[in-house]
Amino acid sequence: MSLLRDPRNRRRKPIDRPNPRCGAARALFLWVALGGAAGCSGPTGPAALLPLTAERDPRLPQLRVLVAGHTRVLHLETFGDSSRPALLAFHGGEGSDYRSMLPLQALADRYFVVLWDSRGSGLSERIGPDEITEQAYADEVQAVKDHFSPDAPVALVAYSYGGFHAALYLTHHAGQVSQLVLIEPLAPNSEANLPDPAVPFSAEWVNDYLWQDELVTPDDDDRVDYKLTSVAQAAIEGFSCDPAHPSHYPLWRMGARVWTRTHEVFARYDYRSALAALDFPVLIVATHCGDGNVDYQRRYVAPVFREARLVALPEGVDHLNLFQRGQTEMLAALRDYLAPGAGSLP
């Protein structure tokens, strides 16, 4: 029996102790199901399972943009003085959010730092399949850039899958960017990217994901986002340096439909020519762990640029915890690269 379990998942499964009233409700199942449970918990409905997206929560920092014929609300946060040069940051993992990148706000002493969740991702408004196109993604970045820095070029910091977004944007708007930092990105051509790992059908998280069908079906964004978000941490733990002690990846909410559709829409791409034409050096930051480590970056990403500086974070830092555990070294590398006069080719 123990062979069927994933010991990491088991150990990390937190124990949420229900209060005695809820325990009684569990024992008296029918009473719970018939509405008695409402007495021992406040919220009802699938929207309460995850934080609301920005268009439904006015307390969230946000920006309204018009992209692909639709006005959408971005979950967006700025740090620093808006008179400083703008630094736009792209989050990782399609469907994911910028929560893990919050330490970048430390750069606000020199930059006007803009973090946002892409349309359909994280806490930004959900979008339809017709809005998941290359042009729409480029237009979204341009809309944000135009809002905060309409005249001056910006610095881009892109993490993981965000590197794909950065390459896509540069293909359409190369002159809008003056500095580029890629933090363990994907290669800019799909051929060089690693194949998606096979789904481990006997893994506990996969079966928990399927068993949720007894609880909710993916009828709307709230339900399908809950299903994916609830297993996201377990699904990406393979990126950890030490599988026995998986790293935690801070996350608000997965946009499940974007996560699914981008696999289909962007199955093949090649943005190398736009990156090769950049007339400034690029900084690439990577770890020693995982498939996208410093060796991968040296082989597939750095050669694309005219000049790329490669900085390796210390041992023990991995793709999931690099903004937290590698924070000091990463910020130092970024500050060094972003320093005035440092970002130009000889």
Binding site: V32, L60, N207, L215, T217, P218, V224, R257
Partner: protein
């Protein structure tokens, strides 16, 4: 376990009892005697499941040949921390020759324990089944609507942490400890089922078909959306 079943099966085959299906020996009988069958199954239905079933045949309310069916299932690869019980009533509404049409009404309870929390769910189902029967075999079609009527989720600390860090002026807000859901899942079943007498009182059972989320749009048959849009259930039964 499987060795024991095979050993018992071999013994009973050697005894030479006629191979017939319980309750189907005389399909036209006005008031068939009560019959029981107990089965064990392996299934792919919301994951890989192991299940046991108990079917009690009776005289029916309107026409002969009704059954109560009780299924207990456990998902095998979730760490054995979930379970499902489902009770169904199959009531014969029409019978002509070897054909039987039945209304299906049922209810069930499901529990789960995962990283996001623990849940209990109460479900209901209604539909119909059409079967062709002979003394040694039964095949048919089952069409059912499945509704998760109500559910209660106790969110784990990990799940509640998704609510933190959102508000620049209030970073430490955490999510609710529990959420109640109503009509949170709707699925349809379109299944083919079959049963064949093997020997003595043993029979093999098989169910295969579709089980999509009814209102999931493009995700209706999408496994990546966290569902199994089909169902396969294979097993053995022994009648008493």
């Amino acid at each position: 376990m499987s060795g024991l079943v095979l050993w018992i099966l071999a013994l009973e085959m050697a005894a030479g009892d006629p191979a017939t299906l319980a309750g189907l020996e005389e399909p036209a009988t006005a008031s068939p005697p009560s019959s029981y069958s107990v089965g064990a199954q392996i299934a792919f239905d919301s994951g890989v499941l192991a299940g046991v079933s108990l079917v009690r045949g009776d005289a029916g309310i309107w026409r002969p040949g009704g059954q109560f069916a009780l299924e207990l299932d456990v998902p095998l690869f979730t760490g054995f921390d979930g379970a499902r019980a489902r009770l169904e009533r199959h009531e014969t509404v029409a019978r002509r020759g070897p054909w039987t049409a039945q209304a299906v009404l049922g209810t069930g309870a499901t529990t789960g324990d995962e990283r996001a929390g623990q849940f209990v769910a109460w479900s209901g189902l209604m539909g119909a089944r059409l079967a062709w029967q002979s003394p040694t075999a039964e095949v048919g079609l089952r069409l059912v609507y499945l509704l998760t009527v109500a559910a209660h989720v106790w969110l784990s600390d990990d799940a509640r942490d998704h609510f933190s860090d959102r508000y620049p002026d209030q970073r430490d807000t955490v999510g609710p400890s529990a959420v109640t859901l109503y009509a949170s899942g709707q699925r349809a079943q379109a299944l083919l089922f079959g049963r064949r007498a093997l020997a003595a009182r043993w029979s093999a059972t098989a169910i295969i078909g579709l089980q999509p989320a009814l209102f999931a749009g493009r995700d209706r048959f999408n496994l990546e959306a966290g569902q199994v849009p089909f169902l396969v259930r294979l097993g053995m039964e022994r009648s008493f």
